[in-house]
Amino acid sequence: MTQNLLPLFIIIPLAAAFLNSLIGKRIKGFPDVVSAVATFALAFISVYSVFLLKESGTLVYKVGGWAPPIGISMVMDGLTVFMLVTLNLIAFLISMYSVNYMEKYTDKWIFYSLFLLVIGGMNGVVISGDMFNMYVFLEIAAIASYALVAFGTEQEELEAAFKYAVMGTVASSFILLGIVFLYSFTSTLNMADMAMQLTGKGASGIVRLAGVFFLMGFGLKSALVPFHAWLPDAHPSAPAPISAMLSGILIKSLGVYAIIRIFFSVLGASAGILNMLMILGGLSMIMGVCLALGQWDFKRLLAYHSISQIGYVVLGIGLGTPLGILGGLFHLFNHSLFKSLLFLNSGAVEYATGTRDLRKMGGLKGKMPVTANTSLVASMSIAGIPPFNGFWSKLIIIVACIQSYHFIYAALAVIGSILTLSSFMKVQRYGFFGESKGKANVKEVPFFMKLSMILLALVCLSAGLLLLPLFYDYFLKPASDAVLAGRGYLVDVLGAI
């Protein structure tokens, strides 16, 4: 009965959020403990499920005991496990960081409740095997994240939250519209069953129309370039742990994962869709980094880099070759590590000095050694300096571009990487090296913030090892196989019932 593990990914965060909002207000320190325990349990189960998957193949949980075409199902295949590990690992480290960081805000229990709701929503999106169920979880995560962006309730936060909420709602409407069209065409909502019906019926204008709606909706959620306007406002305005979560994992689970799942597993990736993804990816890659170059606000700069790095992921996926998909997925994992780390660094700097403006920092290396060194690791990872993880995934993407004769995209990827390097040299130069300009009595941040930053930096350093055959078979290979299988998803799922 190993598939009974699947609902835990949704039950644990939702139950913890409920407990938190029920008694978190009365008992001091309770919210910290509950959310740390819950996220640790999630991280543990997701790592355990990596081995489980290797042993027993795709798992399907039937909610309420109803067989899939009628009932809702939860599916755990290679891609799902890959996303679950990424999500819950980062979520645990962020939760640990928030213990100290959120001291300066009131109502910590509300923060933790919303935080756990977002995690529950993201896990739900990733694990759901049903279209409408996926939409519901997507909305849970999205609504909680609107509230978290507005958490500071200052002028900037509220403005950013309003913008984010309006654009997010429009995106959700388009996604729902796409689901309606697919439902009217196939009369089913289960993804595997839908894939089967679509295979039987062949191509149609309605499927293409639904595809366009999904591309708009999920493109907006994952902030690809024509739809990116909300991200540079929303991500920096949130408290630092939330920025790390939004940039690190939310845009990936709600955006990129959903794009992969729907376009590859359900609709079946056609050449047109792949081309579209590559164009969007290439555009985001260059536009994001160009816009980042002129920024002086630390967090805003990082937000623009998120757009650029998501471009790499989508470009890799859009290539459609085994190597390209591997590179895209590996970059997704790496980006969630180093971007969360960078946002946590920016939070630490803001915590200690009270500013986000790079021109007012300087000389922090001596005063905040842990923050400075971990941010150096993260900067080198994102820029793609050899021993760090970002290098390997970018290398794979560029090699995959060349292998499939897309020389222009390969060149764009290299240019984007160089511009990223220059941008992060600026961060290091103004922020951590050089002379001190700001407050004199800057101290290093408290223990839990340091601990989570150090752990993330260590994972950044060692993530390149995942490409070794020993780990590759467990983690990356099942994920890229699941994407490559395309509509083979339905064989997997129906076989596992």
Binding site: I143, Q155, E156, A160, T169, L177, Y183, P232
Partner: protein, 112 residues
């Protein structure tokens, strides 16, 4: 057919309202209109002219039944819409407290 077309018109009115209006409250109304249009369309997909109530009993054959699934899903979707509207309205109220205006052209502390 014309019903579907009217649905599309409603959707476009909502989108126009979100894109062109400068007042926060009017934008919220636009969001509500877009949601209604999608919900209405979903109901229409499952609707059947002169259809029967979808109640199954053993002595009846299934014939001319309205599809009940979209109705169940739209209920969920309406609840989600309510949550979104409530949250955005709350944010708009706080924006008004801080800025003293509902005009989005005057609310622009963020740029770049």
């Amino acid at each position: 057919m014309s019903v579907y077309f009217l649905c599309l018109v409603l959707f476009c009115i909502g989108l126009y309202c979100i894109l062109r209006k400068r007042n926060l409250i009017k934008i919220i109304i636009g969001i509500a209109i877009v949601e209604y249009a999608v919900n209405l369309f979903f109901i229409l997909v499952g609707y059947r002219m002169n259809g029967r109530v979808p109640i199954y009993s053993p002595d009846q054959t299934i014939r001319d039944m309205v599809d009940p699934l979209p109705q169940a899903l739209v209920l969920t979707s309406i609840v989600i819409g309510l949550a979104v509207t409530a949250l955005i309205a709350a944010i708009a109220m706080r924006v008004y407290e801080k800025y003293g205006t509902f005009d989005i052209t005057k609310i622009k502390k963020l740029k770049g």
